[in-house]
Symmetry: C2
């Protein structure tokens, strides 16, 4: 097996701290979210830094959603969710703020929003959080790295592998 090497993972123009990663396959990254809409809101991104869904190869699409399903199951169980919002904002016109293909996986609970679809008004921070929800507005502030690292440790354990390649 190849020796551990320092590696850099990008999310759009941003370098992702390794502590924020919880899944790594040939084509896909699981990333703890710095500004989750709800606890357990994570991102599943391609490793390749491309903006649009139509730029992905068949293999990348297949892996993105195979991992997306795997992560969805873990998130639903860990956060005792009743359902999930699974969404790609494909391009700036669709609300995408980081030009890098990523699937939002958001655990949902019955009644978590006054209107079930109000959740989208807070995606990417472009809307207002409805007052009737249980959402803590504070959560839209960037979280600390420690906070994200602690979540990533839990999620990594659930994922159970790192594509057999240790990240150093």
């Amino acid at each position: 097996m190849a020796p551990s090497v320092a590696r850099k993972f990008m999310f759009g123009p941003l370098t992702i701290p390794l502590a924020q990663l919880f899944l790594l396959t040939k084509h896909t990254l699981g990333i703890v979210n710095i500004k989750p809409i709800r606890p357990g809101h994570v991102l599943v991104a391609t490793r390749r830094q491309v903006a649009r869904f139509n730029e992905l190869s068949q293999e990348e699409v297949a892996d993105l959603f195979a991992q997306g399903q795997r992560i969805s199951k873990i998130i639903e169980r860990l956060y005792s969710a009743d359902g999930l919002t699974l969404c790609i904002q494909d391009g700036g016109a669709a609300g995408q703020t980081v030009p890098h293909v990523h699937l939002h996986v958001i655990p949902r609970h019955t009644g978590d929003f006054a209107n079930s679809d109000d959740i989208y008004s807070v995606l990417d921070g472009t809307g207002q959080v409805p007052q009737q929800t249980h959402i803590d507005n504070e959560q839209r502030r960037p979280r600390s790295l420690d906070d994200m690292a602690a979540e990533a440790v839990i999620l990594r354990k659930e994922v159970g592998d790192w594509d057999n390649e240790p990240i150093v």
Copy 2:
């Protein structure tokens, strides 16, 4: 090749008129939407009638999104879109109204909604259409089968095949 046979396709509890289908593979259906949020808003559903994403086999997931990507490209081009909203409302708690896994493919145009994420407030008709948008409220009324059939004819031509199985 097998002779054409009458076949029935379900979307949750609903039988889909064949005129509404524009894509058919082993695991996936492309369906013209009876209540599109925007012109070109179509659905990509599993052939198997299951409610939740976690119930899909790996093969079903792979095909759903392979076809989803293929359809996305067609929709973006035909509707001269700047981007796409790609979304699964996975379970009733996430706003799903028909208990059958389906991906929404919605063409987006810069400025189509006052707030880019307002689009979600009209998904499934649970929210209000923002007044500032170009959306025709009339479109949330069920469309006629003739109208859907005409759209499906155009999309079928783009898709270019029916899994080599004629639908009769």
